[in-house]
């Protein structure tokens, strides 16, 4: 198991609470260790359809389809997955679909694996160029207000919002074997 250092903290619960508050009914994800608790919370919730994706761009289609059917959806991915989505992001802009993406950052603070660095270094720029509002979170205490504000903006205005959870917040990936 690769378990991030701070995973016992409550910030994943704060994100989940906002999903509940706003009636998010579908959550698509490609797993990341930093999202493991949030994924487990969503999987255990009978009101949320959890959809494990083979690639993150599938999640953009999922969000669009959910919205057509009247449901709110959110996506969880790590920073490398943002790169997999770029062309599909145009679906969100062309049609004005609300989209919340919660991104766990790799390739920055304390990163062990240099192969994560090139994508991690451009993740926020790629999101902005693709039309997303981006909000970066470095401290655990900021997760609740920033995720709440970001989700509110996305769903009330049919905007595309990405929350970037920094590697310093999550803790560097621990290699235990």
């Amino acid at each position: 198991m690769h378990t991030p250092l701070n995973i016992e903290t409550s910030w994943p619960d704060a994100i989940y609470a906002h999903f509940r508050r706003l009636g998010v009914r579908q959550v698509g994800y490609v797993p990341d260790a930093g999202h493991s608790r949030l994924i487990a919370l969503c999987r255990d919730d009978p009101d949320i359809a959890d959809v494990v994706l083979t690639t993150e761009e599938e999640g953009i289609g999922l969000v669009a389809g959910a919205a057509l059917g009247g449901q709110r959806a959110a996506l969880l991915m790590q920073s490398s997955g943002v790169g997999n989505c770029v062309n599909m992001f145009s679906l969100l802009r062309n049609c004005g679909f609300a989209c919340v993406v919660v991104v766990t950052m790799r390739g920055e603070f304390g990163e062990f694996n240099p192969w994560q660095v090139p994508m991690g270094a451009i993740t926020e720029d790629v999101l902005r160029l693709s039309g997303f509002l981006t909000y970066r979170v470095d401290n655990a205490d900021d997760v609740d207000p920033i995720v709440g504000a970001g989700c509110d903006m996305a769903f009330s205005g049919n905007l595309q919002v990405a929350i970037l959870l920094s590697q310093r917040l999550i803790g560097p990936k621990q290699w235990t074997r």
Binding site: R25, Q26, A49, V51, V52, L53, T54, T55, E57, E58, G59, I60, G61, L62, V63, A64, G65, A66, A67, L68, G69, G70, Q71, A73, N87, M88, S90, L91, N94, C95, G96, F97
Partner: protein, 188 residues
Amino acid sequence: MLDRREFVKQLLIDRGDLLVVPGLGSATYDVAAAGDHPLNFYLWGAMGGAAMIGLGLALARPDRQVAVITGDGDMLMGVGSLATIGVKQPNNLAIVVLDNARYGETGMQPSATAQGIDLVAMALACRFRHARAVSRIDEAADVRALLHDGKGPILVNARIEAEDTPRVLPLRDGHAIKQRFIAALNAR
């Protein structure tokens, strides 16, 4: 081999409440040629995404049947979504692949299915409840019945002629296509 226009037209006869997601390119033109309808979510881009839009819609509206009608190029680009759909087992989702084994929009270059790559076998391997190939117009009524009454997930691979059909261009404004679809879905 099927005439794509005639086949799609027969699939959509008396379509009732069917929700239709046509993939970009010729599939969108075929669905438009069968008759414009507010419950068509025409795609003009997002290649590889049609099946996943269908999944999100099918999960959101389990009370309605969802038909994704797309080309082999779009389905191959999003082929991983067969696994994603197989995991969720939506019983109200069907995918019809209009397979001419070509990239028709770009000059009829051969696609992977031209070399025998088998989308029906892939769908079955991804735990689709029903998957079959069709190539005769007298099978269209059976496929239409599957779209309305079949238990999904379903994939039908329809072998169509590699012909260059006239373009029938529906709405292109994504916001308008979306809003019209949502309004029509909520009105019923």
